[in-house]
């Protein structure tokens, strides 16, 4: 090494120069969750149980999503629609309990493809983090889409 190289100063300033250059570059990070990145069109996020044009739940608890689920994350209990509930549920059978274990779910989208009633879609945001395992079991309160009356208000 010669004298300049032994001083190390040029190398230090060269490194500092790179650091300064990066201060004026566009940032790659974003402030999640205040800002969110744009997702691709076929992004699969949290599930939502859809309603039809009249605001009735589409799901009829046929169990095909649970059958197709490779992670066995979905469970449901069916119930029969009573008289007077025609505005709530589209078919004569409906899911009284519908649970997805988000820790088991691998977001493969097979449930979406299996559904004969177009009731489940993985069109939601990223499933948020939590502290307890039991809070990752999402019931109908979190999954069912808001009814249209609520949406309009």
């Amino acid at each position: 090494m010669n004298f300049w190289e032994r001083l190390y100063l040029p190398a230090i300033f060269q490194g500092m120069g790179i650091t300064f250059k990066h201060m004026f570059k566009k940032k790659e990070t974003i402030f999640y969750p205040e800002f969110e990145r744009e997702f691709s069109e076929n992004w699969r996020g949290m599930h939502s149980l859809k309603r039809d044009e009249e605001g009735r739940e589409r799901c009829t608890a046929c169990g095909l999503c649970a059958l197709s689920c490779p992670a066995e994350a979905i469970t449901m209990i069916a119930a029969e629609r009573q008289k007077g509930e025609e505005t709530l549920y589209r078919e004569e059978k409906y899911a009284a309990v519908y649970e997805i274990n988000m820790l088991r779910c691998i977001f493969c989208g097979l449930c979406e493809e299996a559904c004969p009633k177009e009731a489940i879609y993985l069109d939601g945001p990223i499933v948020p983090a939590d502290y307890l395992r039991k809070d990752f079991i999402y019931g109908k309160d979190k999954l069912v889409e808001e009814s249209m009356k609520v949406q309009q208000n």
Partner: protein
Amino acid sequence: MSEKVKVTIDGITVEVEPGTSILNAARQIGGDIVPPAMCYYSKLEGSGGKCRTCLVKVSKGSEKDPRPMPKLVASCRTGVMDGMEVQNITSPEVIEARKGVVEILLINHPLDCPICDQAGECHLQDLSFEHGVGNSRYEFDRRTFEKIDIGEKIQLHMTRCILCYRCVYVANQITDNRMHGILGRGDASEISTYIEKAIENDFSGNVIDVCPVGALTDKTFRFKNRVWFTKPVDAHRDCPTCKGKVTLWYKGDEVLRVTGRKDQFGEVEDFICNTCRFETKNTSSWIIEGPRHIAQTSVISSNHYEFVPLPVIKENQVLIEANKIEFERATKI
């Protein structure tokens, strides 16, 4: 008995008793060449000849008269002749005809499989999956009926009925006096009880087992669970009225449904009584024989184990102890 006759079905020769139908001869061979049957039921005398799904082509009538039969014949109703040659899946004509038959059967059948309790063990579902075309050319409204309760335990969805008459034969032959039959003719015919009379008989529940579709279903199992989530287990008990050999359908520790034991052709081995079917739904009254064998092609075979699966945690005391501590911690939270 007289000599056995030789019959060749799809190139496979079998010797059967004279008087056997082509369908039963094919069943003796077994495998893919067995024609599907929606209305024929070997345990019910006189059944068959209604649905036309078992149509086959007879390319050689017999040794004495080798002319082929002019039209496709219903194999459940046609007896075998010596030297007969039959084509089932090797004949494109038969495959084409079967497609048409499925389309006809589905004209009035509703597409409510997601709701129907029979889905997963429905013969019409299997048939249309295997032989049907995806669409229908029928443009008119399907005929619809209200649900009828036949007694407390059986529900009739006339909309789903394909008029196979099996349940009528059950009522005629198994039970003492028939209380339901078919009213009306042609397109207007429907299964009904006279003045909606409840069927009061020990063996009336068997109409549920013989029904190839979901027209007659168990009300005690209605919407309880899908059949492919329940685990079939063979069991028997000392029953004064029937043989007591049944299949129990478990979900967890609970018996959701009791049915007769169905063989590979979907026919029950023994008819069971209503006490076994509807009223003894606790494990303690049954002697368990073991898991029921389910064909690999059935949806019910998903997650169905016919052996005891190996334990996940083997005899490691440290791991078992750690599991207990972890479990306690989780339950506290």
